[in-house]
């Protein structure tokens, strides 16, 4: 799996990097799961949310599953207040939760084989 812990504010230039780097890493490592952890992001506006959503959809197009973790209470409120739909995108409270989720998923697959 690929973990993307985001720390600091995301302006549009950085958001572009945040979009491209993890996707390239997915290709390079061939890992089918990515966790985007936004614990360290102080503020999420519509643009940042939109960028994160685009990254998740792009990862899905490439054949990888993306999980968002570490959404702080204020940010959750902002996201809902802004009317941004996260749809069927998996979200977890903390990075640890997300890791547990992915390990459970991959563990399950190993048993199936």
């Amino acid at each position: 799996m690929v973990a993307v812990p985001l720390v600091g504010t995301l302006d549009s230039a950085r958001a572009q990097v945040v979009m491209e780097r993890p996707l390239q890493t997915l290709v390079d490592t061939g890992s089918p799961y990515a966790i985007i952890d936004i614990t360290g992001v102080p503020a999420v506006d519509t643009q940042v949310a939109q960028h994160i959503l685009k990254t998740v959809v792009a990862a899905r197009l490439m054949g990888a599953d993306c999980i968002i973790s570490g959404i702080r209470p204020q940010i959750a409120q902002t996201i809902v207040a802004l009317g941004i739909e996260f749809g069927d995108i998996a979200t977890k409270a903390s990075l640890a939760d997300a890791l547990r989720h992915v390990i459970a998923l991959t563990g399950l697959k190993k048993q199936e084989r």
Binding site: V27, G30, G63, A64
Partner: protein, 132 residues
């Protein structure tokens, strides 16, 4: 005109696109693939687009059509190896290609096909002959 090669590997047809996908090439592939699925009776199709720098809306739609055609012919389609730039472009275009299954590379795509039960086997007749 260029044609995209279709390789049969076991129960899977592997299509590796290594050229620019022009509209005619895409349509020809759609036709060829439908023929090959019927001819070989394969239950899986893996389309490798790692060689594609550009996937426009037409090619995106053709991929969706190919997936739908394969499903009708009892074959599952997995599109593999989409480049990050291509994925980002498709998202920006608002094309999320619903109905297409994707995997990161050919290996994972093959695995995905191996995991899914391709077709429900016809139930054995467990009749012990007591018809009276």
């Amino acid at each position: 005109m260029d044609r995209v090669p279709i390789l049969k590997i076991g129960d899977v047809l592997l299509v590796s696109i290594q050229m620019d996908m022009e509209d005619q090439v895409a349509l020809q592939l759609q036709e060829d693939l439908a023929d090959r699925i019927v001819a070989t009776g394969c239950h899986g199709v893996v389309i490798d687009i790692s060689g594609l720098d550009i996937v426009d809306s037409f090619v995106g739609r053709t991929l969706a059509t190919i997936a739908a055609i394969s499903r009708v012919l009892d074959a599952e389609t997995v599109v593999v190896g989409m480049r990050p730039a291509v994925a980002i472009t498709l998202v920006e275009l608002g094309l999320s290609l619903p109905g297409i299954r994707t995997a990161l590379n050919v290996e994972l795509g093959m695995e995905m096909l191996a995991r899914t039960p391709v077709s429900v086997p016809i139930a054995e007749d467990h009749d012990d002959g007591n018809h009276d």
